[in-house]
Amino acid sequence: MKQLTVISGKGGTGKTTITAAFAALAQNHVMADGDVDAADLHLILTPHIKRGKEFYGGRAPSLDKDKCDQCGICMEVCRFDAIHNFTRDPISCEGCGLCMHACPTGAIKMGEKLSGYWFISDTRFGPMVHARLGIAEENSGKLVTLVRQQARLIAEDENKDLIIIDGPPGIGCPVIAALTGVTLVLAVTEPTLSGIHDLERVLDVAKHFNVPAMVCVNKCDINPENTRKIEDYCQDKNIEVVGEIPYDPVVTKAMVERQALVEYDSGIVAEIIKKMWEKIEAKLQDGLKG
């Protein structure tokens, strides 16, 4: 089974727009939204939820006030400065549980913490697994891993040979969870200084985890000179630039209509994305690991 993750270094580069277009173009695949912090893919794919489940991402302490002697030891041992005046700030708390172990009266207990939800859905482009992490919750990496696992199970069950993952922005734990072990990564970038900077960092992450990468430059005509810089950089690193998409308001229009770009329009941008998809498909088939 092949897995493709679309990532972006920074957000807002058009990653989800491109992922949604791939969803419409691919055959026999499962979609996974790995951007669990700010999932957007559902806005275009309008999933029909078949099954939803809670996600317990970690544990959190709770205090039994009757047993508490107010000795203050929990406060002293907590390295995250999460306990003040015998109340706990859930945002600072890392859930390490040291307070529980240190408490001499056994007043603190660790319990499961509901951190979000995940869903299995039907879309007009086939099955989709997506999730919603609670606000300010940790462990988005774990939730991404769970979403990927479920997508894999569905793929095995229904004999699908490809999983397309919409990745989260950044280079931190959720991104790592979204790209480890996949067949191919597509990094979407913009020809801006920050875009180049972020692209370099995210390609480093892909390399660090040994995943082959391809690059797509969105809004390539905003700064042709930077687009050329990206081409040069990629050539240097032996990474193929598979698509260059010019700025076009049609992209926003398709989004407002909640359609994948290739459904909404058949103009130049749609053409470029189709060509890009053909190349990616070929690369996925092309004897890569997975």
């Binding site: 957000g11 807002g12 700030d89 931190g172 920050s194 972020d198 992450v205 905003i222 930077n226 308001p249």
Partner: protein
């Protein structure tokens, strides 16, 4: 006054707003807390004067003392320690540095050593005091780096904190403790969806908030409708302008390219101050067990 800039989703112009707000003030400190992808320096081009390595304490086991009792494994909530037969394995990238293992170890076999997760650089960009954090590549622990970075907040200045996109732990860490949070969005379905999440986050933190709508003439009008029902003040609208996008792509701050905007950003600051004062008393307490 500490003003954090957040956006729910990336690419809405958050860094542009943070950088230009800092540039329009006389006494700003700009702090880039988007440690995974810090970009502010590309525009402010600061002179870096100081670089500080940031680490978290991770355990190291003294083999000669360890009895392989497995107590450390039992306390570690993050599965960062494993004991197999006569061996203790440590997975430093899973470790949160809580110190639980060394605290609990009955024979004192665990010592803590620093593991670098990133660096903080400080410097000057004209009148602006500049700070940013850079997370090491392949490193999952952004929040502790942000936490350390925020110790460099200069309370004598107007502090502008640039946060990462999203609503997860790094953003919360960045936004927490600020006096006002300015959310930047684009009026599209993606923008609105992510804005709602960001609003939920900022409200949970009990911080007054306002909105800046970037590329205000693309997309639809749903963001305005939402703000009206939710009573969120819209402090500034910036229409899409190819000149802004091009200046951005070359790393040139908007105020340098189109200086006539300076006044708008100063007014924005004035509005923020006003809103911040007005809502001071509404701040909620979010402590609980």
């Amino acid at each position: 006054m500490i003003i954090s800039i957040a956006s729910g989703k990336g690419g809405t112009g958050k860094t542009t707003v943070a950088v230009n707000l800092a540039l329009s003030l006389k006494d700003a400190q700009y702090m880039d807390c988007d440690v995974e992808e810090p970009n502010g320096h590309l525009f402010l081009k600061p002179q870096i004067e100081d670089s500080i390595s940031v680490g978290i304490p991770v355990p190291e086991v003294d083999k000669s003392r360890c009895t392989y009792c497995g107590e450390c494994v039992r306390v570690c909530e993050f599965n960062a320690i494993v004991v197999i037969k006569q061996k203790v394995l440590i997975f430093p990238e899973l470790c949160h540095g809580c110190g639980g293992c060394s605290y609990i170890c009955p024979v004192g076999a665990i010592e803590e050593v620093e593991r670098e997760i990133g660096i903080i650089e400080k410097g000057k960009a004209g009148n602006i005091e500049f700070v940013h954090g850079i997370l090491n590549v392949g490193e999952p622990m952004a929040p502790p780096l942000i936490r350390t970075e925020k110790r460099f907040i200069n309370n004598h200045k107007t502090v502008i904190i640039d946060s990462s996109p999203g609503t997860s732990c790094p953003v919360v860490q960045a936004v927490k403790g600020s006096d006002f949070c300015l959310l930047v969005t684009e009026p599209t379905p993606f923008g609105l969806n992510d804005l709602k999440l960001a609003v939920e986050m900022v409200r949970k933190l009990g911080i007054p908030l306002g909105l800046l709508i970037n590329c205000s003439d693309i997309g639809d009008r749903k963001v305005w409708q939402y703000c009206e029902t939710e009573k969120i003040p819209i402090l500034l609208e910036i229409p899409a302008d190819r000149r802004i996008a091009e200046a951005y792509s070359r790393g040139i701050p908007l105020l340098e390219e189109l200086p006539e905007n300076k006044k708008r950003f100063q007014e924005l600051y004035y509005e923020i101050e006003k809103e911040g004062r007005r809502r001071e008393n509404e701040a909620t307490d979010c402590n609980q067990w």
